[in-house]
C-alpha cells in the first residue's frame, strides 16, 4: 500500500503503468484523478495547505482500511499540496482487486475519506478574492453511509 504527499506534479500514466505492473492476482484496476476545476472562469490558482505531521499517516491509514475492507491487492494514493493551476491534477487513487466491484468500491471509499478526513484545505484565488473552500454536508453524509466511523464533529 503506497501513500504519498508531495508538492510536485505526478505523471498519471507512469504511475498507472507501474501500479498495474506489480499487480499479480487482480482482474480489476480502477483509478480516480481529482483536477482543479474553474467554475467561474476567473480562478487564477488553487492553494492547498496541509498538516505535514499528520497527512502521510492519515493517507496510509485510509489506504490500509480500504485494503482490509474490500480485500484489495494494491492501493496507491497520491495527494499534492501547494499552488496548483486550473486543470492540474490535485490527487489520484488507484485500487486493484479480484473483481471490479471491490476495486470501484475501494476507490470510492478512499475518496470519501480523503475528502473529509485527510488534513488538507483548499483555497481558491481569483482576481481580487481569496476563498477557502467549505466542506459540504453531503461529504459527511457520504462518509457516514459507509457505516464504519462516526462523524468528525462529535462535540
Amino acid at each position: 500500500m503506497s501513500a504519498r504527499v508531495q508538492e510536485a506534479a505526478f505523471d498519471f500514466a507512469a504511475e498507472m503503468t507501474a501500479f498495474q505492473s506489480t499487480v499479480t492476482r487482480s482482474g480489476a484496476v480502477v483509478s480516480f484523478t481529482g483536477v482543479v476545476r474553474d467554475d467561474t472562469g476567473n480562478l487564477d490558482h488553487m492553494f492547498i495547505e496541509h498538516y505535514p505531521g499528520m497527512t502521510q499517516a492519515a493517507l496510509q491509514k485510509f489506504a490500509d482500511q480500504a485494503t482490509e475492507t474490500f480485500g484489495l491487492e494494491k492501493v496507491l494514493v497520491i495527494h499534492r499540496y501547494g499552488q496548483l493551476q486550473p486543470g492540474e491534477a490535485i490527487m489520484m487513487v488507484a485500487t486493484a482487486a479480484r473483481h471490479r466491484k471491490d476495486a470501484f468500491a475501494g476507490a470510492d471509499y478512499l475518496m470519501d475519506y480523503l475528502k473529509s478526513r485527510a488534513p488538507f484545505w483548499k483555497k481558491e484565488l481569483s482576481k481580487g478574492s481569496a476563498t477557502w473552500v467549505a466542506a459540504k454536508a453531503q461529504d459527511e453524509a457520504e462518509l457516514a453511509a459507509w457505516g464504519l466511523e462516526g462523524t468528525a464533529k462529535e462535540s
Partner: protein, 83 residues
Amino acid sequence: MKLNMLYFAWVRERIGHSHEAYETSAVTVADLIAELVARDAGYAAAFADLSVICVAVDQELSDFTAPLADCREVAFFPPMTGG
C-alpha cells in the same frame, strides 16, 4: 504543561500565526478553547463558530471533550477539504 499549538487555513489566518508554544493548565480541549478565546479578538474570531472547528490531539482527530493530560501537540482547523 507546554503545548505545541498549530493552526491551519482560515483558523490560522484569523489568529495571525501558524504555530506557537503555549503554557496551559487546561484539562480538556474545550477548556483550552475557552482560554484562547479570552486572549484576543483574533482567537475569538477564529473560534466564534465551534461547529466549523476541528481538533487533532497529537495528530489524531479528536473532539472537544478530549483530555489534554500528557499530550504535546494540539491543532485547530476548519473541516477538511481534501480530494
